[in-house]
Symmetry: C2
Subunit: 330 residues, 2 copies
């Protein structure tokens, strides 16, 4: 087992103040590893970076037939809980004959500062629809109803989660060694980082003539790239990097330092795990790998904002920088 390697540095004045170690894999759909840093066999919990995989049964079952691209993007989203996200998920739930109380995720404050502060001023508590995973859960509910399953859809024994596990193991090309419970209460299945990268490559190479799974993969991939701000939110990494990639990459962050990319033009999948779980590092590392692979440009301000974000102090002074290590480019 290889140890994690330095992937991202944080400077302050003339010093490297902190360093983030991690693992990264670029793979082809057959599982062939194109590039690797650290330990490709490392077992990881993909957290929200697995949302595209978790959405596969929704489409493969036929439950989600005819779903709009916006709703498919929301099913794959870790959204910011902006008003548009809340409204679209609420409408989806309403059409299912349900409301926020059917969601098994807990409530979460909006990441939209203006909305959050406005809710505080109005004395309105955050709801479950504001939870960044509410779109995924709307998809789970739609699938549960279609399958005639219990609406306790986060139970690992529920047919929804059994279908998710089955799809997950198939696209990763390996048996999952188990699961943890995610921030939103759904089971989150583990796999090797190389398995996750291979799954993303399968999304990248899928074509519409390839059967239900490939068709579902194409639909989800295209929906994400068509609605980057529904997958995340204004100014956030997934939205910025997908906009900059102009159809060359569908990317998805996950808690605890995960970040994955589907690269349709190259037929590659990418998976990154920062050992310590830091988002500032997973974002910088993903920006670096997308530059390395030629799908975005370092000079694009949407990329630079995550490749090398300035660290500003409470008085707005530029006191340091986050920067990807050279090893990600070499």
């Amino acid at each position: 087992m290889s140890e994690p390697v330095p992937l991202v540095e944080v400077t302050r004045g003339p010093f490297v103040e902190s360093r983030h170690f991690g693992h990264a894999v670029v793979a082809r759909a057959g599982g062939e590893i194109v590039n690797a840093w650290g330990d490709p066999a490392k077992i990881v919990l993909p957290r929200s970076s697995a949302k595209m995989i978790q959405a596969l049964p929704l489409l493969e079952s036929g439950a989600g037939a005819g779903l709009s691209q916006e709703r498919l993007a929301l099913a794959c989203a870790s959204h910011s809980g902006e008003q548009r996200h809340v409204d679209k998920v609420s409408t989806w739930l309403h059409e299912l004959g349900l409301d926020e109380h059917a969601l098994c995720c807990g409530p979460q404050a909006s990441r939209d500062d203006a909305l959050r502060d406005d809710m505080i001023r109005r004395g309105v508590e955050p709801s479950r629809v504001h939870n960044n995973c509410s779109g995924k859960h709307a998809g789970f509910l739609m699938l549960a109803k279609h399958l005639g399953a219990s609406l306790d859809y986060v139970d690992p024994e529920n047919p929804v989660q059994k279908a998710v596990k089955s799809a997950f193991e198939e696209v990763c090309g390996e048996r999952s060694p188990g699961f943890g419970i995610d921030g939103c209460s759904a089971p989150n299945f583990a796999a090797s980082l190389a398995g996750i990268a291979r799954a993303m490559a399968a999304f990248a190479t899928a074509g519409t003539g390839g059967g239900a799974r490939e068709t579902a993969m194409v639909s989800l991939r295209e929906a994400m790239m068509a609605h980057p701000e529904l997958v995340s939110g204004k100014g956030r990494a997934c939205a910025a990097l997908m906009s900059a990639a102009k159809g060359q990459a569908a990317v998805k962050t996950g808690a605890e330092g995960l970040f994955v990319a589907i690269l349709p033009g190259l037929g590659f999948g990418v998976a990154i795990k920062i050992e310590d779980g830091a988002t500032r590092a997973s974002e910088a590392a993903m920006a670096a790998l997308l530059i390395r692979l030629g799908v975005v440009e370092a000079e694009d301000p949407r990329v630079a904002a995550f490749l090398a974000p300035r660290i500003e102090n409470w008085d707005g002074l530029h006191v340091g920088d986050v920067r990807a290590c050279r090893t990600l480019f070499d």
Copy 2:
């Protein structure tokens, strides 16, 4: 140079999801290293863990003669911006003939959720007095006035910062290789982690018969232990660990994974740097070392809350734990 070693793990279900690598040193006042993990020679920016050192010139110069223990605790504080912190610093500034506009730190929202939300409701912006460093800055201003220096006291060439640098190098027993600009705009001088630990041991062994420096060290150490919630805030690590240690430890956190301890009974100093800068890890590692050194008990809930905090998800489910690695106890 030794690489950082795993100090803290984060679990989720049956998996170690993330790991934090770092460095730690326990030292005596003469510089002798009692225990070390990782690289004791690692150069670090101590950030707010240096506040006791930064407060030395305030007392040694005579500027702070007669200051209350509360104000000495605030001079060493990274406080939460609770109303009591804000009120006490405001009164101090007023007695200096100054107000918040004299502070060179930027504004920062209160960490007290109820106060922060109340300010949002009332449409009141956070001020510079709410900044966690406002007590340190009040001390800098008091020293600047005493020295007849410019009130631009964060300029590295200002007599205040020259005095800080001189004291810092003397107590660390080494020349500082430079500085970075801190979150509060003051210069933050670098040293080896072993140097920082040695400085903390000097605070630990200082006696009142030992001249101006030792007297200042005793005053600051005792003030911190007498007012743990003024040094940090309700429910936070420094306050909890100092309360639990019952006069056996003065501890101080710093941004980017720093944590130091002064252990008067043992005559030891402790310094921890988490390589990736994570606070959850520096807190767990400090709790572990205080247990190892016999100054707190693992069963004390004030210690357990930082040694092994539960990770709860948005729905309040217990989904994982932070835990110190065995190496910190062996």
